[in-house]
């Protein structure tokens, strides 16, 4: 019988989510520095705000979506719960609640990383240095996840860590795939942009997937293939399919090795998503329907998060009304809010 406290399970799950969120945001911002390279204007940044549906909060904080403001809003604005500083701080608050369960190395690493992130100078946040700064964030998160992998005691705490990590990663990869849509919304890109090879290779690089893609598709960067690679490839650690299969394995681990019986609904939710992915892989117009697909992914992940909460974290049993989602083809256009969701 497991004696892992529900509260600790929830904290380890959210800590991992925040690590991954921090890393992904670093990737997104780095992506923009690549887009911006060689461009003279300063208005290419607004799409990040659109990508995270932060228009309202951003407008309250800053008058204009120029590079300086967007960078500040997402890197160092503690009023923005989705900023890198806020995310890493939330990771640390969860880690603090979890301290008796963490290895000392994990806490040490996190303190070190937090101190670094909160000591970013203006020079480090300037556009010219931003790529390096984002890289430091990424590497900080790698270290964090690596320390966990190598020092955390792999009892039932571990599957919860992995679940948080891959749930957030699936969400973030779907956001990365939605960049073009966000850019179109802010008037930065046109429809033909779908076939813009530079764009799609930047996206691949943002997912650390460029060379892997090259190995599988040596001839050319085909936008359709890039999207399919980032969604369906079972061997790419940041693809949505990979994340789902990892989550499936973790839930199975909880059921089988740790005897947690109430994992059923969460397992079913993941299975439904895997099926949804299969449906989508048959869609010839996937590229055109990409935004709706991403929306479906993000909404489904919110429901999965809730199932995990009800099964393990002591969330109240919600009404059953909202739990059925339509298949990916006929999805509503509402943007997911999970980016600003914080640990309860």
């Amino acid at each position: 019988m497991s004696s892992l406290l529900s509260r600790h399970a929830e904290s380890v799950f959210w800590m991992a989510r925040y690590f991954e969120r921090t890393e992904s945001l670093g990737r997104i911002i780095e992506t923009q520095t690549s887009f911006q390279r060689g461009r003279g204007d300063d208005n290419g940044w607004a799409w990040i705000v659109a990508l995270y549906s932060d228009e309202e909060a951003f407008a309250k904080a800053f008058p204009e979506a120029n590079s300086e403001n967007v960078i500040r809003f997402y890197m160092a604005h503690t009023e923005n719960p989705g900023s890198i500083q806020s995310s890493i701080k939330s990771a640390r608050e969860n880690a603090r609640a979890l301290r008796p369960m963490l290895s000392i190395d994990m806490w040490y690493q996190l303190n070190d990383f937090c101190n670094r992130v909160f000591a970013f100078s203006n020079a480090e946040l300037a556009e010219v240095r931003l790529s390096r700064t984002c890289d430091a964030i990424k590497r900080g998160c790698y270290a964090q996840i690596g320390v966990a992998e190598n020092t955390l005691y792999h009892d039932e705490t571990w599957p919860f860590f992995r679940l948080g990590l891959f749930l957030e990663r699936a969400d973030q990869t779907s956001r990365l795939l939605d960049v073009r849509f966000a850019q179109q919304q802010t008037g930065l890109a046109t429809d033909e942009g779908h076939y813009d090879h530079t764009f799609w290779s930047i996206l691949l690089r943002a997912a650390s997937a460029y060379h892997a893609y090259r190995r599988v598709h040596p001839r050319h960067i085909d936008p359709r293939e890039v999207a399919r690679f980032l969604i369906f490839d079972p061997r790419l650690p940041r693809s949505i399919a990979y994340c789902l299969s990892e989550m499936q394995a973790m839930i199975e681990l909880l059921r089988r090795n740790f005897g947690l019986r109430n994992a059923g609904p969460a397992a079913e939710r993941v299975e439904a998503m895997i099926e949804g992915l299969q449906t989508a892989s048959n869609d010839d117009n996937l590229l055109q329907n990409l935004h709706a697909f991403n929306d479906w992914v993000q909404s489904s992940l919110i429901l999965l998060n809730d199932e995990l909460g009800k099964a393990f974290f002591g969330y109240a049993k919600a009404t059953e009304a909202s739990v059925t989602l339509p298949a990916p083809a006929a999805i509503s256009q509402t943007q997911s809010q999970s980016q600003t969701q914080v640990a309860r």
Binding site: M1, S2, S3, L4, L5, S6, R7, H8, A9, E93, R96, A97, R99, P100, I104, W107, Y108, N111, D112, E156, F160, L254, F258, G259, L260, R261, F312, G314
Partner: protein, 493 residues
């Protein structure tokens, strides 16, 4: 053995060359009239360290404490600020011989206090025999009627005790205070040692020092001894107020060292007078709770109804014998300032022994002699109201104005039983690294004792040091720091 003067090298300035402990007992050198304590080896070693080098290593050590998260947390608005307790790198050393006395003295006091608590919650013999005034105990705010007739396993109320000890200029130990509620600070004892072992292995090399690493296992064993009867594999949990508590690190430390879950009130619930914790696999029974929450917040049903930190129904589970709390509820009546004054009599009454560690001389103003002596010597004494804590209402005679003394006299006469008086205390000093070099700073000592069937005392204890020159206030809230405390296995340092 060489004298200190002979150890000085006239050609260079070493850290301790200008050190002068004045009229105080020095933990390194001994009493003012004989500065030749058996610690010349350590003195010599310190002398060989360069001051600048010492400072660098001290700074490294403090940084490490921060990154390891050995911190207390100060919350303001929504930001959490982690601070380390200032750490002084020059250790405080207790000889093997002195430790024997301390160990015996602490055990004796804990034993007497547990017997006293059992008595006042059962037969009240000591009150009936008139040794301790009845109203002082039964009318005490910390006396808990809920505990009347309750039999704690092993007869132990104070499972974890901290005894505050000071040293006069002759080197005699005195007890300033017994802490029988939720004494804190033991995590620093262990972590300070680990830090010294990493940062100053050269300073420790070759000295046989008692280990402090056993605390967690000792405490865990004692808690298991005190589990409710008939439970074969008791589940212990540490109950913390949560991350917002300034001592949260210590709670984490203890949970890890004992190997038990760190729970908050919201993780527990009581069903059918039994306690359960909420886990990912459902409710799991809990049998022993090391609680770091004060009595009044423990159970909104029994005590403060507005407490969000506690567990509803916990006291019912206690009284049914389904769960053991450590420390028991209601121990506050034994470590009260007024009851403290009676402790030598309490020891004599239950154990028929003299106190191994005497109290600081305390005049009980509710008694005729005590009041008379106090009134005659107001300018020399510290007068303390017994019901207050945190230093409120204290009159420090030697530093008070005439008006303050007159006011104190009037208050004393109006309500003598609310007061005790004590002479001005002189704390011993220890060489301490300061901005001005190595200087004497006042220290106290809090040894920690854990009790189940028997009592075990952690060899060492928390040495708190007042970092301000001349100050005797060692509290961390007022500029106090800590030192590693070495108990020698043999007196060869």
């Amino acid at each position: 053995m060489a004298t200190i003067t002979a150890l000085k090298n006239p050609s260079t300035v070493a850290p301790l060359d200008t050190y002068n402990a004045g009229q105080f007992y020095c933990e390194l050198l001994g009493s003012p009239d004989n500065r030749n304590r058996h610690l010349t080896a350590l003195w010599h070693r310190l002398q060989q360290l360069e001051l600048l080098h010492l400072r660098e290593r001290a700074a490294d050590a403090e940084r490490e404490l921060f990154n390891l998260g050995i911190t207390f947390t100060v919350y303001s608005d929504r930001t959490a600020i982690d601070r380390i307790l200032p750490f002084d790198v020059i250790p405080r050393v207790i000889t093997a011989e002195d430790w024997k006395t301390l160990d015996r003295g602490v055990k004796q006091r804990i034993k007497a206090l547990n017997l006293f608590l059992w008595d006042v919650y059962h037969d009240r013999k000591i009150l009936k025999d008139g040794l301790v005034p009845e109203d002082l105990v039964l009318g005490n705010a910390n006396y808990r009627p809920e505990m009347i007739g309750y039999d704690p396993p092993c007869g132990t109320y104070i499972h974890i005790g901290g005894t505050d000890v000071i040293r006069d200029p002759r080197g005699e130990f005195f007890v300033l205070e017994d802490n029988g509620r939720t004494p804190s600070g033991v995590s620093y004892v262990v972590e300070n040692r680990h830090l010294m072992q990493r940062a100053f292995p050269d300073l420790m090399h070759g000295f046989a020092i008692e280990s402090v690493s056993e605390y967690g296992t000792q405490l865990g064993d004692k808690l298991i001894e005190c589990a409710p009867a008939g439970v074969s594999e008791p589940q212990i949990a540490l109950l913390s107020p949560g991350v917002f508590n300034s001592a949260y690190f210590e709670h984490v430390f203890l949970a890890r060292e004992i190997g038990i879950p760190l729970v908050e009130g919201r993780d527990l619930f009581v069903d059918d007078d039994k306690v359960f914790m909420k886990t990912v696999s459902g409710p799991k029974p809990v049998h022993v709770i090391y609680r770091r929450i004060n009595d009044e917040f423990l159970d909104p049903e029994a005590f403060r109804p507005d407490s969000a930190l506690g567990v509803k129904g916990l006291m019912r589970a206690v009284r049914k014998g389904n769960v053991t709390l450590a420390n028991a509820v209601g121990t506050g009546v034994a470590d009260d300032k007024a009851v403290y004054a009676y402790l030598p009599r309490i020891i004599k009454y239950y154990l028929d022994e003299h106190p191994v560690l005497p109290n600081v001389q305390t005049n009980i103003c509710r008694e005729k002699d005590g009041l008379g002596y106090t009134l005659d010597n107001l300018d020399k004494l510290v007068v303390k109201p017994v019901g207050e804590s945190g230093g409120y209402g204290i009159c420090v005679g030697p530093k008070a104005t005439k008006a303050e003394i007159d006011l104190c006299r009037n208050q004393l006469k109006a309500d003598p039983s609310n007061y005790i008086s004590q002479p001005m205390i002189e704390l011993s000093v220890c060489p301490t690294l300061t901005d001005q070099g190595v200087e004497p700073r006042h220290v106290d000592l809090r040894p920690f004792a854990v009790t189940g069937q028997e009592t075990w005392v952690l060899p060492g204890g928390l040495t708190r040091v007042a970092l301000k020159r001349g100050s005797i206030i060692v509290n961390s809230s007022q500029g106090g720091g800590t030192k590693d405390t070495w108990v020698l296995k043999e007196d060869n340092a």
